[in-house]
Assembly symmetry: C2
Homo-oligomer: 351 residues x 2
Amino acid sequence: MKKAGVTLVDVAKLAGVSVMSASRTMSGEGYVSEETRAKVQAAAKQLGYAPNAAARLMKGGKTNVIGVVVNDLTSSVVNCFVTALSEEVRKVGMDLFIYNSLGDMGSGNGARISQMLHGLWDGLVYVLPRMTDDYLETLEKSSSPIVLINYFRHETTLPVVRGDNVNGAHDAVRHLVDLGHRRIGFVRGNAYTGQSDLRERGYMSALSDAGIELDPALVYQGDFSQQSGFDGARELLALDAPPTAIFAANDGMALGVLNAIREKNLRIPEDISVIGFDDIPTAAMTQPPLTTLRHPFGEMAQAAVQELTRRIQGQPGRRQRIEFPSEFIIRASTGPAPACSTSRRSRRQRA
Amino acid sequence: MKKAGVTLVDVAKLAGVSVMSASRTMSGEGYVSEETRAKVQAAAKQLGYAPNAAARLMKGGKTNVIGVVVNDLTSSVVNCFVTALSEEVRKVGMDLFIYNSLGDMGSGNGARISQMLHGLWDGLVYVLPRMTDDYLETLEKSSSPIVLINYFRHETTLPVVRGDNVNGAHDAVRHLVDLGHRRIGFVRGNAYTGQSDLRERGYMSALSDAGIELDPALVYQGDFSQQSGFDGARELLALDAPPTAIFAANDGMALGVLNAIREKNLRIPEDISVIGFDDIPTAAMTQPPLTTLRHPFGEMAQAAVQELTRRIQGQPGRRQRIEFPSEFIIRASTGPAPACSTSRRSRRQRA
DNA sequence: TTGAAAGCGCTAACAC
DNA sequence: GTGTTAGCGCTTTCAA
């Protein structure tokens, strides 16, 4: 381990050349004779030289680094976005650094981050941000290019890449209706990000399109956690007229729903159908595999990176809002409504 | 949105003071009169001034930022460490930035990262690194403080914080033996990180301590994925003398094992017991909840950060190897060996 | 309490 | 091809 503080001057001195030749060798720009290059490289290696990034940046150059800020890295959705972003960013020859705000999206923290960003990043992406108004204001004033992914709460001047929630949820519930379900439960997430509300809107519109009246008893307030999905399903299944299908506002809660159903020894999907949202990796591996919806992570990440690089290069942003339809993924957790469903029962009553 | 490139000179000019006063105001160090301070702050706000981090760093100051490099952010274990590190780092008043190498731990990439690190981070943590020898060499030569978490492959001069794998695995298998199991399957992970081997060593030593001969047919080569756990369990259960318990080298594979068992309509743990390793969040939410082992993420993260900050402050590292015992978490996926187990059968044969 | 000057490590621009 | 000069934005001297 060499001492810190080896500078280009040291390398040049040892190699017996000028600082500029050393610089050219290290950065790979401009003409250097093979001989000089070799000498410099040898010297650099011997001294354990590492270029000082800060000094390089100071020349006003791009850092080729994009930062992404998230609230909570344990969220599968966030994870999918971050991984997709890593790949996209790499494709355009840049690097991605991730900052986990651990949920602290207060304005003080916002100021901290936007300070750190200045000069160290070429641009910033916020994934699923859940920030205070102050924070948003700080960002809007920032001089660095910024793109938000899946931000829904307020109007903003910042560019936003979004997945569609309403239509996706509508499709899902419509699918259940088409399968003959009439009593369809909904498990809400918390309101932080605004996504749960949108998904609920899709749920309601699909019901109303099908002429089914909304039964408030079938809507449970969860918090996006698996546990809350479990609790919610337990409650819904205990109703006098339990649902024959449950739509959860995210996959995490849907997993809890599956567990609760299994606990009651009901079969999926014969007795009850389940749909989630997000298509987290586990969703494909449950038993039965979960029918769900997904935002197109890859495409959204690509759009965000494109929009960001455009702005980094000083070109005008192309679009202020880029919306992607969600994909409906039908797996084995949904099936025809059971024969003993409400519709059948009502028919019997008529008879 | 203000134009980029607002500098301290601009602020000072607008405020009608010297650059130094502006600097002192912004950094909060040194004496500035209330009046000057107010003027400067007003000017800064009006111009949308943000200090240029790069320039600050160049003065050789600390950045108060620690970087963590991971291979794969989708791994739950990595995720747990990263989150724990975020918290620890924040506790000591620093910030954590995460870099996802996406599995590219070749030496070229290593050089890239260690270049970026230089000057931008005060120190680096590598979590579960799976790097080439070249890469490791680059790191060892680096002048920045570095700590590795859960690195097992080679000897290194870098400080390493490790979880114990051998004894943990030994405990787990010993537990099964105590419950009467004699035929215990093992599902290996791939060898990249060296952890699977260590866990297997614990498995073998526990068997041999109990006087059980190792049956190679009971060891399946997986790759840490849920799918491979599923495949492995299928194969083991199809044996003429199937195991009454399966120990998987990680929780992901254990989840696959659970699915395969369920698919065969066997009961857990009445017919067959399952143990995983890592205690990923889902492990507590399976049905039945998974018996497993965990590295103490929080304590390990704390140790890593402590060791790193010590080195950042120029103090000598306290220890080169810090090892933590793993915790054995008994949940409901393990139980007494079934009555029709091999031991019983052999007794019958004797009779 | 404030300001002027010097310089951090590097590279763009211009000579040689 | 190579070297010299200047300066990025900031802070650490030191002097006023």
